[in-house]
């Protein structure tokens, strides 16, 4: 397991995808065959059966380390991960034992049916023979949830690089149904347990952002207008009675969206459609942050299904009756698409993305101003004669977004929330840069997921500089993209301007405080918006 611990360390000592791929390839080149299978299993969320529950693990760790339970809990609160807390809190190993990963998994499997005392003897003995890094992995093998910053895509790219196999085939192989206890590595990466021909996706057709005047597109009659949705672009494939949903990031996300599984029954074999996965209630599209609750989860609770129901707004038809129809003109594809969708049960939540009717560009521009009212980002314009291109191609598909009012800011104050979140810092104040200084421009309540809130909360607790009553001044380090509806002059604010309806769009973990916007950027935006008569008057 030392070898596997080294892999984890290598994956964690770099932020760069290429380094991660190299580390994985290096591991797969040298690890035992069964270990390779298990690593693929663990990194894609397949876990061994849980032989011991976590409260027992915790109790035994407290006993072995002579730690009172309250102190264990304090430590857990600081570390944020039970397996890691146990690994760190235990006394150093008495002797080291290095067994292969699959051997540990087999031994853990074997204790499942044993009486509690024998389980305890086994676990305590293992802890006393493992270093901290190996202990952490051992605990993770028991409790599951292996999240170490490697996406399925990175894993697949590493395997594709090592085996010289197309990455889409490997993605299907490892996302398919297989049992790590029985499958051989070559069978797994070779895809002998699945029919990779069934899942084969087409490259997505992508649009360019509109830079010129819309009238430069010529006659409106040649263009189909649709809403530009802010969801997860997905390609749905039904072949040989199997259903697959690919995300634009080339990940198979079929299991994440049970609402769409109805398509396995209702679509004909040999059908491939392209659309946007959205949170939809009663036919109305909900915000992206609602959809976010549903993303990248291994299991979906009933509550999540109720709070963020998912639907599909379909843009296009790529394969029909087993034939690739991407070179047919959009007009024809759309006709066939509507026909295909008309056969679905009306309650399915799967509909054609509506076409916007308009007479001239001026009218479309007016309609576009209302985009935000239906949680869209603007409009799409697609040439009615265009084929479905592979990738990004200039000229046929344009995205015409509403004015992108967003600003990158850094959090400088945090305050605790109310009710359910009374123990968490959930209300934040954001600033932009003005020369050497940071100037407050917006206050926003959380638009973050619960997990993100916990992360921000732990950051605030560890990085408070000053306290003013309930407010903490925090180290200006976390960058958030703030979206807003308008900007106005304001004498009451130090910045001299105020943002209308600011909200957190996303947490930019990829950015540092050195990269946030400046007050001048906002002043320019203010000037620009003042010269646009149709901009709604902003409140000050």
């Amino acid at each position: 397991m030392k070898r596997f611990a080294q892999l984890i360390q290598a994956l964690e000592t770099s932020n760069k995808t290429n380094d991660k791929i190299d580390a994985l390839v290096h591991y797969f080149d040298s690890a035992a065959e069964q270990d390779r299978v298990w690593v693929i299993a663990l990194f894609t969320g397949k876990k061994p059966k849980r032989p011991v529950n976590s409260s027992l693990l915790k109790a035994w760790a407290c006993e072995l380390s002579e730690t009172p339970e309250w102190l264990f809990n304090e430590s857990y609160h600081n570390v944020g991960d039970l397996s890691e807390t146990i690994a760190l809190i235990l006394p150093p190993a008495t002797a080291l034992l290095d067994l292969p990963l699959h051997e540990w998994i087999t031994r853990l499997q074997a204790i499942e049916k044993l009486p509690e005392q024998e389980k305890k003897d086994f676990i305590l003995n293992a802890w006393q023979h493992l270093g901290t890094a190996e202990r952490f992995i051992f605990n993770k093998l028991i409790s599951g949830n292996f999240r170490i910053g490697v996406s399925a895509k990175t894993l697949v790219n590493a395997l594709a690089k090592k085996e010289l196999v197309d990455s889409n085939k490997i993605m299907h192989s490892i996302m398919g149904k297989w049992d790590p206890y029985v499958i051989a590595y070559d069978d797994l990466v070779g895809g002998s347990h699945v029919n990779t021909d069934n899942s084969w996706p087409y490259p997505f057709c992508l649009a360019y952002a509109m830079e010129q005047e819309v009238s430069a597109l010529g006659s409106p009659d040649n263009w189909q207008a649709e809403w530009k949705w802010d969801g997860i672009r997905g390609q749905v494939i039904k072949r040989n009675n199997e259903l697959f949903i690919w995300s634009r990031g080339e990940e198979l996300v079929t299991d994440q969206f049970p609402e769409l599984h109805i398509l396995a029954d209702e679509l004909d074999n040999g059908t491939v459609i392209d659309g946007e996965i959205l949170a939809v209630r009663d036919g109305r599209v909900l915000s992206f942050s609602t959809l976010q609750q549903r993303l990248n989860r291994k299991t979906i609770s009933k509550k999540q299904l109720e709070e963020a129901p998912v639907g599909l707004f379909v843009y296009d038809l790529l394969e029909h009756g087993g034939t690739d129809i991407r070179d047919q003109p959009l007009k024809e594809r759309r006709r066939r698409l509507e026909d295909v969708l008309s056969r679905l049960s009306p309650s399915s939540g799967i509909v054609a993305s509506p076409v916007i009717t308009y007479n001239d560009w001026k009218e479309l521009a007016q309609i576009r101003e209302g985009s935000r009212e239906n949680n869209s980002e603007g409009v799409m314009l697609k040439n009615l004669a265009s084929p479905y291109h592979s990738g990004r191609k200039r000229g046929d598909w344009w995205k015409w977004k509403v004015n992108p009012y967003t600003v990158d800011t850094v959090m400088i104050y945090a305050q605790k929330g109310a009710g359910r979140r009374a123990n968490f810092f959930t209300d934040y104040t954001f600033a932009v840069r003005d020369g050497e200084n940071l100037i407050t421009v917006a206050k926003a309540y959380s638009g973050l997921t619960d997990q993100e809130i916990r992360q921000v909360d732990s950051f605030v607790k560890r990085n408070s500089i000053e306290k003013f009553g309930p407010v903490r001044t925090v180290k200006p380090e976390l960058v958030f993209e703030i979206a807003f509806e308008g900007i106005a002059e304001s004498k009451r604010h130090k910045a001299g301007l105020a943002l209308r309806f600011p909200r957190i769009l996303r947490w930019r973990k990829d950015k540092t405080a050195a990269e946030i916007n400046t007050l001048d950027d906002l002043r320019q935006l203010l000037q620009a918006s003042l010269s646009l008569p149709e901009t709604p008057a902003a409140a000050s």
């Binding site: 770099s14 309250w70 430590s75 570390v79 760190l88 809190i89 732990s458 560890r462 500089i465 180290k475």
Partner: protein, 338 residues
């Protein structure tokens, strides 16, 4: 009457009429060490260890009235005997021992129990009451021996150099930087940010030799830096300058790096748990060796650590101070720009 009290200016000894590590200006400030959260400007008089004096001049100003003491030496102020004892935290760091009519109190400032090879090693001092920090006062913080962390850093740096990456270690400029220089000396050329180079000069002037380092200037070639190891203060971590290096990779050296989620928080490539503060076993051992009947717990996991001591039969109180961690308090460094 107790020898010390905790006031809104800092730790006060009323019998001697002086403060220890005050955070607001006072007449007489006894100073444990040169970190900016423990020593502020504006005091009329300072008392510190001989090796801390040049650091105060460098960080606070040339125009200061400073008295100095060596370890083990004492002066008496209004009948209170004040002596300094090694705290093992950074160069010149001292525990302050106060004695008055047979009553002994020790204020530790910041301390670590492992010998880092560059600061005078920690010496436990018997006392009735002890003021302890608790920066890492949770049982999950247990350090690996310095040699093992050093080996890890060297392995990482070697791998970087082999792969043509530029190695940047992030460490606060007073203490951790000198410790790293000492650990890494002789393997690769070591390039340091000017804030570190300045402190190195001050330290060397006071007679403590440091291994050779090269000051980074706007003219230093990026291809030369790529073949060595750079050490920069935390404020530089997200600087524009780092992005101008050839394939830069950063490694943060701090006790917080013990925990994975903290490592992920720093947008660094690697984290090394190298701390200048005592770990959990270190805190417990140090407190045991003082024989103190009362322990005042300051900055860190004060509540948890103090409760633990009370349950272990050592009377303890949590004390609010304005000391933080150096990582938070390090003054902003200037950009290196051409």
């Amino acid at each position: 009457m107790s020898l010390i009290s905790f006031t809104n200016r800092g730790i006060y000894c009323s019998q001697g009429d002086f403060y220890i590590d005050p955070w607001r200006p006072v007449d007489y400030a006894v100073t444990t060490h040169g970190h900016s959260d423990h020593v502020k400007s504006g005091n009329a008089n300072y008392l510190c260890h001989t090796l801390t004096k040049p650091i105060l001049h460098r960080r606070i100003g040339e125009d200061l009235k400073i008295e100095t003491l060596d370890y083990g030496k004492s002066i008496t102020k209004n009948g209170v005997k004040i002596s300094l004892h090694p705290a093992g935290h950074i160069i010149g760091s001292a525990q302050i021992r106060l004695e008055y009519k047979g009553e002994i109190c020790v204020v530790s400032g910041d301390y670590k129990t492992e010998n880092d090879g560059i600061s005078a090693p920690f010496e436990p001092v018997r006392c009735h009451s002890f003021v302890s920090e608790s920066t890492f006062g949770l049982p999950v913080y247990k350090w690996q021996p310095q040699d093992m962390v050093a080996a890890e850093i060297i392995r990482w740096a070697e791998d970087n150099i082999q792969k043509g990456k530029s190695t940047v270690l992030v460490a606060y400029s007073l203490g951790k930087a000198q410790r790293l220089i000492n650990i890494l000396a002789g393997r690769y050329p070591i390039y340091v940010h000017s804030s570190i180079a300045n402190l190195n000069e001050a330290i060397e002037q006071s007679g403590v030799p440091l291994p050779a380092t090269i000051r980074i200037t706007p003219e230093t070639g990026k291809d030369i830096l790529q073949k060595g190891i750079m050490i920069v203060p935390p404020a530089m971590r997200t600087s524009r300058w780092i992005k101008t290096l050839i394939n830069p990779v950063t490694g943060v050296c701090s006790g917080w790096m013990q925990v994975r989620s903290h490592r992920r928080w720093q947008s660094a490539d690697a984290g090394f748990a190298l701390s200048d503060h005592a770990d959990w076993p270190g805190l417990i051992e140090a407190i045991g060796e003082t024989g103190a009947e009362t322990v005042y717990v300051t900055h860190g996991f004060t509540a948890a650590f103090s409760r633990y001591l009370n349950e272990a039969g050592i009377y303890s109180e949590e004390v609010k101070t304005q000391y933080g961690t150096e990582e938070d308090e390090e003054p902003a460094a200037t950009e290196i720009s051409a």
